[in-house]
């Protein structure tokens, strides 16, 4: 906070459930230096201008996934986006799109969390092995099949980018489908069939119309659109395999 040089105008979409019937914009003048993140700007507001402003944050280094917000209409992590990028214009900040607003910049994430819990998000061993037998072998090539999909920090920017999720929260959505694929693509796992039921269902990959914005906004290069659309291929193959399998059965 050395050498305050400039002042940026930040318009925050406020919503205080006990006071407001709908969100209203409030503008703050925030002094900043070139190395200040948007998060630091919002913290300045809370510390010195209006203590009632609410937002989530923690690590400050784009790994905990707390501080996703709409910055001039784009979903971004506030901690790794800088105020200088918006100067001299006004920076508009709004809670992540497509989620209900709890208060100010805080959204209700319970739908995301419930979905995360619903996709068997853990290894169901393909073959049992005791800890005493040591680790499962997994070559770097096998690991590379799921590596990028395991990098998701659950920041939910991709949900704020996905209009299909905005139109219907029944859609499982990009991040969780990427996580699902992370486990399906892991050589140690044996629960693919269980998860394919979710992939094939109405709420699964077919809810995606390949807008592709999810992968654009992902801060960790997870490429959820890829995970979803790869599974459209998998789902189709699944369908035909089942079709032929049942056809054979009927022929007997």
């Amino acid at each position: 906070m050395a050498e305050v040089e400039k002042t940026i105008e930040i318009a925050v979409l406020r919503y205080r459930p006990e006071k407001d019937t709908k969100p209203v914009s409030q503008t703050f003048e925030v002094p900043f230096t070139d190395d200040m993140s948007v998060l630091q700007g919002v913290q300045y507001i809370k510390d010195y201008l209006d203590g009632s402003l609410s937002f989530r944050w923690s690590c400050r280094m784009a790994i905990c996934g707390s501080c996703g917000m709409m910055l001039n209409g784009e979903p971004k992590l506030a901690c790794s986006t800088f105020l200088r990028e918006y100067y001299p214009g006004t920076l508009q900040i709004e809670a992540l799109k497509h989620f209900p607003i709890e208060k100010d910049l805080v959204i209700d994430a319970s739908d995301f969390i419930d979905k995360l819990g619903s996709i068997t998000p853990y290894i169901v061993p393909a073959e049992p092995r005791s800890v005493e037998q040591g680790e499962y072998l997994q070559t770097p090539a096998q690991k590379a099949q799921y590596d990028q999909f395991s990098a998701c920090i659950n920041c939910m920017l991709c949900y704020a980018a996905c209009p299909q999720y905005g139109l219907s929260t029944n859609f499982t959505g990009p991040g969780i489908l990427a996580l699902l694929h992370r486990y399906n693509a892991d050589s140690r796992d044996g629960a693919r069939e269980t998860r394919m039921e979710i992939v094939n269902s109405e709420e699964g990959v077919w809810g995606c119309t390949l807008v592709g914005y999810c992968s654009e906004v992902c801060p960790k290069e997870v490429d959820p659109a890829k995970a979803v659309n790869l599974n459209k291929v998998n789902s189709t193959m699944d369908y035909f395999l089942r079709f032929f399998a049942s056809g054979k059965g009927a022929g007997k």
């Binding site: 459930p17 209409g73 799109k97 209900p100 090539a141 139109l167 390949l210 592709g212 659309n229 291929v233």
Partner: protein, 129 residues
């Protein structure tokens, strides 16, 4: 009795609010031209079955300025659709590795442009000769 009262924002005209969405909607809209063009071709096929006069009438109708305008629009739409499709096609391609390196998305898109160019070249050469 809870202090909570989550506010759900409406989705009205969502697709106008982000250039990315606008481009997406245009991509989806191009399918209308593709369908219409399919009907035009179908009409041509039907006239061919009916006989030479009908086919010539169909050909003549294509020379109408309105028809030419439609074909220009349809070509633009098809090109736009092709470009966007090439761009998203890496999303349906399985993870490819060559010598331990991941094949980048850009390369997959690039290869398709090359294939398309070669095909056009062949078609034009055949049509010309």
């Amino acid at each position: 009795m809870s202090a909570r009262d989550p506010y759900v924002r409406p989705m009205t005209s969502w697709w106008l609010k982000n250039p990315f969405y606008v481009r997406y909607m245009i991509r989806e809209a191009t399918s209308v031209f593709v369908v219409l063009y399919a009907f035009v071709l179908l009409g041509g096929l039907a006239s061919l079955v009916k006989g030479e006069t009908a086919y010539n009438a169909w050909l003549a109708s294509l020379a109408n300025p309105l028809a030419i305008f439609f074909h220009l629009m349809a070509t633009a739409a098809a090109l736009y659709h092709t470009v966007t499709w090439f761009r998203v096609s890496p999303k349906v391609t399985p993870l490819l590795f060559v010598g331990g390196y991941r094949v980048p998305d850009g390369l997959i898109t690039g290869v398709q442009y090359v294939i398309a160019a070669v095909l056009y070249l062949i078609i034009f050469t055949v049509a010309w000769t």
